[in-house]
Symmetry: C2
Subunit: 232 residues, 2 copies
């Protein structure tokens, strides 16, 4: 693929196994933005990807009109800002609600998600897995109560009549939906019975057509996690 | 202080020694937003602060119309969004420029700044300090070249004719200006001769009236760092 680009062209560089890339697919599709997709081999990244994200050398990168934007959260903000007249908006309109959505998205990515990586990379060490599971449960309780407090309708709002995902659903929801694949390799990530509101939200998210279309296939992802662990 | 509030009231909960609180002072002052300031004792935080930021229990928290917004970067975004017609804007208008400013702000906070904490908490262990200084220098080179590439005028733009700070200047600049106090306790954070463009930017930032008004006083901050180290 050449670096030349046509005006207004949107290209996403990603990997099928990366749930942070899934975030970008869903955001673009919801907005109805046509885009090209370039699948990267994470074991042998393209020179083009490295030139677009020389600092972190990671997917996803969105290239719009030849200009690269790395990092999924920054890409979501960009999509909302550039196509600001195209519904649905990912972030709510009210500045205080926006701050709260960003707060919980950050909490998910910086506090909760690292514990799932710890579970995986504990490579079966029961003590380490147990510690990460306990820590995740504590954080999930904070997340569940906090989101319910800030957005009382959010966990009940996904379903038949409401197919669109907002910023927090795309950021946290997509990641959480792939925990099934983690569970297939390390055991339960969290106790669904202890978190009914959160669990029903996740289950409803999994049924959304865009989620079904773009979530990494379960069996393939399980095999991938095992492969990465064998290499680690 | 009571939780009752008057309509439109803006209250900042902060600490004089916290440079992330300085960010918020400067952003509010630049926009011309009147606000009350509540100094928190970080050794004995108020119940009100804990109720406003129960998750992280940290300053700064901005309370506007009785609604709390924690975390300095989220507060800066909020200020720009709520007072969106009040110049100066902290973020540029162009969505791609906004993404790049957020990228470097995040790079500063997540990659560069933690090395300065490592220098401090190495408590004089020369190996550890040396490692953190070397890592900081590597990251600073990336930051300096990256920002110059993305915003060729930025490092030369601060001075007599240009007193306003943008998002990146407020986020990275404020932190970097307090490194003098770090240097007084652990030695040089970085080699100014190796980073002339960056250094002249920092020196120009230090001369801005709002920076002079709100940066923690040098001697007091040095004493504070020594006190925290004695407790650690």
């Amino acid at each position: 693929m050449e670096k030349d680009h046509i005006e207004d062209e949107v290209v996403l560089f990603g990997s099928w196994s990366s749930s942070i890339c899934t975030r970008v697919h869903i955001a673009l599709k919801q907005k109805g933005i046509p885009y090209k997709y370039v699948e990267e081999n994470l074991q042998n990244k393209s020179q083009l990807l490295l030139s677009y994200n020389p600092v972190h050398k990671k997917v996803p990168v969105l290239v719009h009109k030849g200009k690269p934007i790395p990092e999924s959260l920054l890409i979501l903000e960009y999509i909302d800002e550039f196509w600001k007249d195209d519904a649905p908006m990912l972030l709510p309109g009210d500045p205080h609600h926006r701050a709260k959505v960003r707060f919980w998205a950050k909490f998910h990515d910086e506090k909760m998600a690292p514990n799932v990586y710890k579970m995986i990379f504990a490579k079966g060490d029961k003590d380490q897995v147990g510690k990460a599971v306990a820590e995740f449960d504590k954080l999930l309780t904070v997340f569940e109560q906090g989101v319910q407090n800030d957005f009382p309708a959010m966990f009940q709002s996904v379903g038949e009549g409401h197919q669109e995902m907002g910023f927090l659903e795309i950021v946290a929801g997509v990641k959480i939906c792939i925990y099934e694949a983690v569970e297939a390799t390390v055991g339960a990530v969290f106790d669904t019975a202890k978190h009914p509101a959160f669990t029903s939200w996740v289950n409803a998210l999994k049924e959304l057509p865009l989620m079904k279309e773009h979530l990494p296939p379960h069996d393939k992802l399980v095999a991938r996690i095992k492969f990465v662990l064998d290499q680690a």
